[in-house]
């Protein structure tokens, strides 16, 4: 990991609602968006299941993304995925 920005300097790139069925799956949809992001940006992801969360964490450790969990205010799981490099 290169020089890391502070929490406050991270900018929201977009929110991604992955609670519905999608052919690309949560990792397919997220990886497409991640590639568009610049270091210092994050994507706010909503997912429905723990298995989706597990898949995202496995993907994040492969590509070097940082994942933070946040309150979703509903039944969905909310993850903040940071692009750090």
């Amino acid at each position: 990991m290169t020089s890391y920005m502070t929490e406050t300097s991270i900018i929201l790139y977009k929110t991604l609602d992955l609670t519905g069925q999608s052919c690309a799956g949560v990792v397919g949809e997220l990886s497409g968006v991640y590639e568009e992001m610049r270091p210092g940006e994050y994507v706010d992801v909503l997912i429905k299941s723990d298995s989706g969360k597990k898949d995202i964490l496995a993907w994040a450790s492969r590509v070097g993304a940082r994942v933070r969990e946040a309150q979703s205010g509903g039944a969905a799981i909310r993850l903040l995925v940071d692009r750090v490099k």
Binding site: S22, G28, R62
Partner: protein, 384 residues
């Protein structure tokens, strides 16, 4: 007079325009409403047929018709320079076109689709034969006809792309095609996919992975292509794998239409931010977005555009009539999946209900063919 502008006369734009003409027939006949479709080419391509053309099962000429033939006579078609949208000006509620004119609208439906972004991956364009464009489908067929054995890699460069089940179909049709030609024993078939498995929806992935195993197709995933060496005939991934190929087939990266970027109405890949239920462009209630153009996490497919067209047409018509009744899109998608040259299965799902593909059968194959044939006379014309 109220104007509904439809940007793009592909699958989504044509179906929604025809549906709007039907819903708003009395208003159009009284000259109170106008439906104008803008498409630069004036030619309507039925892209799903390109997969079949790549295997010699369709004539490319049968996949193209003039847009005029498909559109309701009640719609006005703007084509050529007059149909080439140069700017989507949502702030001023107008479309600018290549002939220098500006066209104000009361409602806009954006259906400008997606394009192939070959340049994202060095060496890809020189190496990959792809049925995702018409010319590529013809080269795909020629290459298959000349193929005598070796390694074929089917690669999906990036997600999302249009027709997410297409790579499964291409691989399984290819496997069958090679068997029928007596080349299966002389061919290693490799499927290199950017996410773990062969498909994104877990239970479809499970069914398809089993079929791939039974048919001896090697799966390399996750495999996110970084570069292709056209001379050395190797394809390399961000994950650090390098595969040799004699033939490279598959799907190049996709992005939204250039005019979306030029008009600054999309994200960095030119997908337009869209509410997944109302299909309205975010922060613009007079703009609806459908088909490949949206940034919704849903299949980019003709069937998606078709399902969405009911919602968009009803909501625009209700808006025109001053009614506040609104429909919501439930995420419906239906796709046949060819599992060979004479069998198929299908998936039908929505946001909340995952698909359960039935066992592949000949009946599903013929249904897929019938669906393709009926496109011109039924689906495109919004007869149902």
């Amino acid at each position: 007079m109220k104007t509904i502008a439809v940007a793009g006369g592909g699958i989504g734009g044509t179906i929604v325009a025809n549906r709007l003409c039907e819903r708003l027939r009395p208003e159009i006949e009284k000259d109170e409403v106008k439906v104008a479709v803008f498409d630069r080419s004036g030619q309507h391509v039925y892209q799903p047929g390109q997969l079949f053309a790549g295997f010699g099962l369709e004539q490319p000429s049968d996949l193209v018709k003039s847009e005029e033939q498909l559109l309701s006579p009640k719609a006005r078609l703007m084509q050529g320079k007059a149909g080439e949208i140069t700017k989507i000006d949502v702030a001023n509620h107008a479309l600018n076109t290549g002939d220098g004119k500006s066209h104000p609208y009361d409602y806009l439906v954006m259906a400008t689709g997606s394009v192939l972004d070959w340049d994202l991956v060095p060496g890809l364009k020189e190496s990959m034969l792809s049925v995702w464009d018409m010319e590529g489908a013809q080269r795909h067929l020629a290459a298959l006809r000349g193929f005598q054995g070796g390694t074929i890699v089917v690669n999906v460069a990036r997600l999302p792309h249009k027709c997410p089940v297409g790579p499964l179909e291409e691989t399984l049709m290819l496997e069958d095609y090679l068997r029928r030609r007596g080349l299966r024993d002389k061919t290693e078939l490799v499927y290199a996919y950017p996410i773990p498995g062969v498909f994104g929806i877990p239970n479809v992935n499970k069914v398809m992975t089993r079929i791939y195993e039974e048919r001896g197709i090697r799966v390399v995933s996750p495999f996110t292509v970084k570069a292709v060496d056209p001379q050395g005939k190797t394809i390399e991934s961000n994950e650090g794998e390098k595969l040799k190929f004699d033939l490279l087939l598959g799907v190049p990266p996709h992005m939204g239409s250039k005019v979306v970027g030029d008009s600054a109405v999309g994200d960095r890949r030119n997908w337009v931010p869209t509410d997944k239920f109302s299909l309205q462009m975010k922060d613009h209630s007079d703009v609806f977005v459908m088909g490949d153009t949206t940034d919704i996490a849903i299949s980019k497919a003709g069937s998606t555009a078709d399902f969405e067209s009911y919602v968009v047409a009803d909501n625009v018509a209700n808006g025109i009539r001053g009614s506040d009744v609104r429909k919501e899109y439930d995420g419906s998608v239906f796709c046949f999946i060819a599992t060979g040259m004479s069998t198929a299965t299908y998936i039908r799902f929505n946001y909340n209900t995952p698909p359960v593909p039935p066992p592949p059968s000949g009946v599903n194959w013929w249904s897929k063919i019938a669906y393709n044939k009926l496109y011109w006379s039924v689906t495109a014309k919004a007869m149902v």
